[in-house]
């Protein structure tokens, strides 16, 4: 397990402050829902943890260490865009990616391959959008990575694929050894997944807390709270 900490982190792109003096500690062994409209800084937060962006100010640490090849070995990162090599087949992609990770679980990968209905011989560039999303979640969940970062894993895909992706997250999540951070702007479908939620607005924390406690205290679903904060 690993603790991810943001200490007064800022990151700008030109004049836009994507993340603005953000401080936050992600609790171990939980699924955190990173919620907010487009451009609220969700994706930037995940890239900062994955080491694909470097903070302008402040510090992001994973178990006390700033992103490096060592922390990258602890992180499974699923970006929103298509980041796989189109010319590879599904099987080749698995072979290539798994070569880099000591925590790759071959059995789990084979199980997920079947569950997702992915053809191992299909070329990645020929896969439908839903199938590509399934392959991405397979790659993220076939490892026993202490930190799993899922950037909009459900966006723009068909209902069957969405349901498969959600199911894969729930069934492969190991609460005793993993921390999952999942960003989404579509709360309805995924809110039952979250232990905690973090509402981001203009790169700052607008609201955060345990999902169940928020429901109990406010008598509202996370979706309704979302509309309240961003509506």
């Amino acid at each position: 397990m690993a603790t991810v900490v943001f200490e007064r982190v800022s990151k700008s792109f030109g004049r836009v402050r994507a993340v603005d003096e953000l401080s936050f500690t992600i609790r171990e062994g939980t699924i955190l829902g990173l919620l907010g409209p487009n451009g609220s800084g969700k994706s930037t937060m995940l890239k900062l943890i994955a080491g694909l962006y470097r903070p302008d100010a402040g510090r992001v640490t994973i178990d006390g260490q700033e992103p490096s090849p060592k922390t990258k070995a602890m992180v499974a990162y699923l970006p929103e865009i298509d980041y796989l090599y189109g010319w590879m087949t599904v099987r080749q992609t698995l072979e290539y990616v798994s070569a880099f990770y000591a925590d790759w679980d071959r059995e789990r990968a084979e199980g997920l391959l079947k569950f997702m209905g992915l053809d191992p011989e299909a070329r990645v560039s020929r896969l439908s959008k839903g199938m590509r999303a399934r392959l991405k979640i397979l790659l993220a969940m076939s490892r026993s990575a202490p930190v799993v970062l899922l950037d909009e894993p459900l966006s723009g895909i068909d209902p069957t694929s969405r349901s498969r992706v959600l199911r894969a997250i729930v069934s492969e999540f190991r609460a005793d050894s993993q921390t999952v951070v999942m960003s989404t702007h579509d709360v309805v479908e995924s809110e039952a997944l979250f232990d905690e939620v973090l509402f981001l607005k203009d790169g700052r924390v607008a609201l955060t807390g345990e999902a169940e406690r928020l429901r109990e205290e406010r008598g509202k679903s996370i979706q309704e709270l979302f509309e309240e904060v961003f509506g």
């Binding site: 809110e191 039952a192 169940e212 429901r215 008598g219």
Partner: protein
Amino acid sequence: MQLRLDQHSPIYQQIIDEFKRAIARGELKPGDRIPSQRELASMVQVNPNTVQRAYREMEQLGITETLRGQGTFVTQDAGLVDSVRREMAERALVSFVQEMNALGYGCEEMVELVRETYRRVLAAQGGESDGDGGV
């Protein structure tokens, strides 16, 4: 198990209620095995930690018991079904009375209306006393 979560109230509470309802209706009997936490989480696509919390509380409430290596079972306790049934009835009654009271009905009127509605509903359903799905 089908769970229609409304997400306005804590999900772990709804899971517990769903089990209680199933026990009260006799869909789950004392000694029956219930799904493992992982199975249920995957089935209803709910956070495993939430399911764990629901199971922990059900065990504390004496509704279920976990036998090491065998799984989780509905408690073998004759009084359980009655007490759960009673609790569910109580809850339904409280919300019924509150609602009717707010509509301006007194006790006698309520009782009279209940009797009338009971007869009509039973006649329409041909003897079935409940209509909801559940477990």
